[in-house]
């Protein structure tokens, strides 16, 4: 018996985790994949399910929901053509350089997927945003991801660096900076909705004073998106802050001291000593945030209900609204589209940005 246990102990220890992953991750993933290719109607005694083929996906990309997911397309403007062609040429040049210098079949396939996604997104933006037309939930989600995560990373890292220096009161600020992350996203949504109310909120006097008393951010698509990014940043900067603070504090002090003795200035020390040390953690933090940001749903739901129109609706929120109306097939199809976009962008980011930097280190 002891021998048997010794032999199988590894598997036994792994078994609970494997079972949990199967039950809570793999099974829902497979079930939702089946739903994505089905139409479901609830009725007495359960539900009726029929195979719908690609219909749920077709509806999103080419059918009645195209405007919702991708945006409203029209004849391309001159600017849209110029930007679209320039970006496409740049991407082709990037692929060409890769094929000429580091070609491997595995890498080529990966880059081809990245290239295809990038070209699609370029023309998506050219066909909608640069064309003066509304873009869909994919564009809105990417706005939250790129702008939101960018702001959060810069501010969170700056605050973490400041607190890693021995400045008076930095311990107190560490706690204060961390508080927003402990509030639920729904709470954050309501707080910001109240704070940003130009007519009844606590800052209504300020809005009146600057002449914006008769203006509402919630009725302007870009202002609404920006306010959601601000609320999202308020909540997630602490996450970047706490992770980067740990990273900055883990940099060996003797390296800084050696740089100091060698006469390096503050900026040079940061650029050449500290930043390369924290880069892997920074990349991981960014990756986690990007994955989370793709799933944003609470804030636009609470602050604007996806409005005005569908201007602040994210892909996750679109999926949630479809699920809420019991269109489970569409909800699953949208979720899989989001999963595909997230995986491609995150894997591309990790391979092409993070690993490239790590490999480039001397």
């Amino acid at each position: 018996m002891d021998q048997w246990l010794d032999k199988h102990m590894g598997r036994l220890f792994l078994a609970p985790a494997v079972v949990l992953i199967l039950v809570f991750s793999i099974f829902p993933l497979v079930a939702s994949l089946i739903l994505a290719f089905s139409r479901i109607r609830f009725t007495g005694g359960g539900f009726r399910m029929r195979f719908a083929g690609w219909r749920n996906f077709d509806k999103q990309f080419f059918g009645s929901e195209q405007f919702h997911l991708l945006g409203t397309f029209g004849p391309l403007s001159i600017i849209a053509w110029i930007v679209g062609i320039a970006a496409t040429v740049a991407l082709i040049w990037w692929m060409y350089r890769y094929c000429r210098t580091h070609f491997t079949m595995f890498g080529f396939v990966g880059r081809l997927i990245t290239f295809s996604m990038a070209v699609c997104l370029v023309w998506l933006f050219a066909g909608t945003l640069l064309n003066g037309r509304a873009f869909g939930t994919v564009g809105t989600t990417l706005f939250y991801v790129v702008i939101g995560c960018g702001i959060q990373f810069v501010i969170g890292t700056a605050l973490a660096f400041a607190c890693s220096q021995h400045i008076a009161g930095s311990r107190t600020f560490r706690v204060i900076f961390f508080v927003p992350m402990m509030i639920t996203p729904i709470g954050v949504g309501y707080i910001f909705r109240m704070l940003a109310d130009t007519t009844k909120g606590p800052f209504s006097g300020v809005w009146q004073w600057v002449g914006l008393g008769n203006w509402s951010w919630a009725t302007d698509p870009w202002a609404a998106r920006i306010f959601i990014v601000i609320a999202d940043s308020w909540q997630w900067i602490p996450f970047v802050f706490i992770m980067m603070l740990a990273a900055f504090e883990s940099v060996p002090k003797d390296l800084n001291e050696a740089a100091d003795i060698d006469g390096a200035g503050k900026w040079m020390t940061f650029r050449e000593i500290i930043w390369p040390q924290v880069l892997p953690i920074a990349a991981t933090v960014m990756l986690i945030r990007v994955i989370e940001a793709f799933k944003i749903v609470d804030l636009p739901n609470i602050m604007t209900s996806g409005g005005p129109g569908i201007a602040t609706e994210s892909v996750s929120l679109q999926s949630y609204y479809a699920w809420r109306s019991l269109d489970l097939g569409s909800a699953s199809a949208i979720a899989y589209i989001l999963l595909f976009i997230t995986v491609v962008i995150c894997v591309s980011f990790f391979n092409l940005v993070v690993l490239a930097r790590v490999r480039a280190k001397p």
Binding site: R39, R41, F42, T43, G44, G45, G46, F47, S64, F67, H68, T72, A134, D197, T198, T199, G213, N214, W215, S216, A218, T219, P221, T304, S305, G306, G307, P308, G309, I310, A311, Y321, R324, S325, L326, D327
Partner: protein
Amino acid sequence: MLKRLLMGSALAAAMAPVTASADGHYDGVVINILTRPGPVIAGRIVERGAEFTEMTGAEIRVAEVPFAELFQKILTDWATGTNSIDVGVFASGWGVELVSGGLVQSLDDYIAADDKIDLQDIAPYFRDFNQKVSGETYFITLDGDFQMLYYRTDVLAEAGLEPPKTWEEYLTVAEAIHGKDMNGDGEADYGSCIFKKRNAQSYFAVQSMAASRVQSKGTAEGLYFDPETMKPKINNAAWKKAFELYKATGEFGPADELNQDIGDTRALAIGGRCGLMIDWGDIGPLSIEEGSQIRDKVGAVIMPGSSEVLDVATGELVACDANICPHAVDGINYSPFAAFGGWTAAISSTADDVKKQAAYDFLSYMNQAAQSNVDVTMGWTGYNPYRNSQLENTAAWVEAGFSQDSAENYLSAIKESLNHPNMASDFRIPGAQQYTGVVLDREVARYLAGEVTVEQALENIEEGWEEITEDFGREEQSAIYSLSLGITN
């Protein structure tokens, strides 16, 4: 035989309607009710539930979920056999889908054995239309819903204006009073307050505006489809005008009206900041609540009408005459819209017999005049009148805090709407929530936000409605839609 007799006696005892005695004959019975978050609607169920527990021993548990998730929770609970909910309280129009799935208990036998519910006192629209599907009663009305126009009597009198009779007049009046200080706080107030937030109630308001242009021949004509083909009657000049009017009212409303739901606009109205308001019956009772700035300063009238209506054959608007608009008054066609239809309760068909009886007894208790005639006079409950006795007797309203004039004005507006032969019915077919709460709501929001033109919005709605009809089955939908239009007041 003895066993059958005993069972029969037990059933007969169970079928006897509740009496106001603490007999504890439902000791140990728990009834789980699901509805929207309180205190509106849910709050009064909790209070009446406590009374019912004291009388019968049955425990009433009220669970609440957000309005937008209510129908889905009930449908999935009942369809999948989870059965954690015994009674759902929701919009009557949603119930048709539940009934078509065999998920709702028919109440005809229970009503036949109930000598306290006094069905004849319930207004015909709710008794014969809202509570029934295909002639069979499945729902108990707790709240009577349709929209009316409210106006500030003092503000209009000061401006020398009459309440608007048409939607064009609505804009004229709103423009004339917009910017006036209506509550004495020194701030400019709004000519019009109408909820326009997405995923809230805005799609009801635009239907109220469309009704008088789309429907002129009576309730049986319907607002939405050709009953034979189920082709949507949406992409036409009448709905286009309604969309444009709805957007135009925003010129005289709060800056953030696009992000305001019914709670926001009611707060403004009660705070005395609105000259004209569209709402269900709630503004009346809310106007006498503590802190209200509009006590005895608010009047109610039937929803404005139109002097031109839809010619279904051409899709264009034509001027009213005696043939085209048989119910018109002074050339104006009115069509008060039974938005939402009211909060109604349904019992799960899979609940056990004792629970069903206890649940019915509780719903009957809430619906009976002795209780409901009090509940409808309190604004916070969210319950609006649906019984004739509630409309005829002003004493309860005066006792609740109305002045005699206000009570008479409020109740006469309700009566005029409720008894109108051209009252427009809300959706009462499977998928009702998808047709309106998803497709119509989204396109209204996109149009208001300037994302699409009115023509594009109407085309998108037509396409979306056709998809839903196909999904549920055109013939089945056609049959149910025809049935839903079969009853007129």
